[in-house]
């Protein structure tokens, strides 16, 4: 009985451990200088609503929310989602992406908060 218990714990802990180790090993080396872009949310709209970024390059986008209500920067096209509280700025790492257009939106204000990444 005890062996089974140990085996279960072992496998599950190994799983978590493996994930942790990955995070440690890769986390530090990747925070090198990378292209940086800015998006502003005002009146539940993105400015600019079209952002040009380079293809096949990892970059980061700083999203600032100047409204008094929370927003969520989200995209199914490049699989990102992050809450942006009023008056705050968040950093979202994106890519590298292939050439093309990738839509993003404000999940909390979908009728007005829309934009597109133009990757070229």
């Amino acid at each position: 009985m005890n062996r089974t218990y140990l085996l279960r714990s072992f496998v599950l802990m190994g799983l978590v451990g493996a994930m942790g180790a990955h995070a440690d090993a890769f986390g530090a080396s990747l925070t090198q200088a990378m292209p940086e872009y800015k998006l502003v949310i005002r009146n539940h709209q993105f400015t600019p609503s079209a952002l040009k970024v380079p293809a096949n390059t990892k970059f980061k986008v700083l999203v600032s929310n100047q409204d008094s209500t929370p927003s969520e920067f989200e995209s199914s096209d490049f699989s990102r989602e992050k809450i942006v509280l009023p008056g705050s700025t968040v950093t979202v790492f994106i890519g590298p992406l292939g050439k093309g257009q990738y839509k993003f939106f404000d999940d909390f204000h979908q009728s007005t908060g829309n934009g597109v990444l133009i990757v070229e």
């Binding site: 089974t4 994930m19 890769f26 209500t69 929370p70 969520e72 809450i83 705050s88 590298p96 992406l97």
Partner: protein, 293 residues
């Protein structure tokens, strides 16, 4: 109103699908309603707290707090599910027996349900905190009360209804195969949650993407469509998966598979029909102790 209803619906649906699978997987366990209801209640309290503390969460860990928080919540759920499925792989037959013999003495099961309570609570907390933030914003932004009063119940009802539909569908699985089926659903669910955790860690730049979009099947099934979203929750479907997500999915799936096989081989060598376990209390008791030790 439609916008409110849609957002609430999508978030509720995600949580409801997870709760549904857990509810099915704990079929026949005593007091499971209390456990599941308790999990939902705890999750709602947690959701409020997370929403209130989002400022702190987001600001911590160099701005990556939200992603790491989400990833930890997801991975905790993965571990809990892993615990349950390995436990089930040695007790599934016993539980199926019990479903068939109404008067069986039921002892084992509760400890594992307590573990799944956590999974339910975490799912409700994750999705609920988004709804809470959204609604706070609407209220603060002076949105029409009508929008809130009409949109929230409609969205909630829609999500919960779909959860029930799935549940009723699952109940049609023959009892013989029932727990095997729900166990597999839990394995796929966990693999998907693990893959979502990877996505958050990539977003925070804590993990390399290993190919940010390995392929793109959004022409076939988009993650923003309802079926795409449901499959995303249930099996981790991604129209454009990152390599690291695939790694997490596969490792979780593989590890659970190995753990399930290993425990099943140790514990239950015979078929359910020839193995009326519910009539042997010493065995049942010892396995409960085993979990608690």
């Amino acid at each position: 109103m439609l916008g409110v209803a849609l957002l609430v619906f999508r978030e509720v649906l995600e949580a409801a699908l997870i709760v549904t699978v857990v509810a099915a997987a704990t079929r026949g366990v005593p007091h499971r309603r209390i456990f599941i209801g308790g999990g939902i209640a705890l999750g709602m309290i947690g959701a409020g707290l997370v929403a209130l503390g989002m400022n702190f969460i987001e600001g911590s860990l160099g701005g990556s707090g939200e992603e790491l928080f989400e990833a930890s919540v997801l991975l905790t759920a993965v571990v809990m599910i892993g615990w349950h499925v390995t436990w089930m792989s040695s007790h599934g037959n016993e539980m199926a027996q019990r479903l068939r013999s109404v008067s069986a003495s039921i002892k084992a099961g509760s400890s594992s349900v307590a573990i799944l309570l956590v999974v339910v609570a975490l799912a409700v907390m994750r999705e609920g905190s988004e709804i809470a933030l959204f609604l706070f914003g609407l209220a603060a932004g002076g949105a029409g009360q009508r929008d809130l009063l009409a949109g929230v119940p409609v969205g909630l009802a829609g999500g919960v209804t779909l959860g029930f539909v799935l549940y009723l569908g699952l109940l049609r699985i023959p009892v013989r195969h029932f727990f095997r089926a729900t166990n597999w659903m839990l394995v796929l669910l966990a693999a998907g949650l693990s893959s979502s955790a990877a996505a958050y860690l990539i977003q925070a730049n804590w993990l390399p993407a290993l190919g940010s979009q390995l392929w793109n099947t959004s022409w076939l099934l988009s993650n923003s469509s309802l079926p795409g979203q449901a499959l995303h929750v249930l099996v981790g479907y991604e129209a454009r998966p990152a390599g690291m997500q695939l790694v997490f999915w596969t490792i979780t799936f593989g590890a659970f598979l190995i753990a399930m096989r290993a425990t099943a081989m140790r514990r239950v060598p015979s078929t359910p029909e020839r193995y009326p376990r519910q009539t042997s209390p010493p065995d049942g008791r010892s396995s409960t102790l085993d979990l608690q030790s």
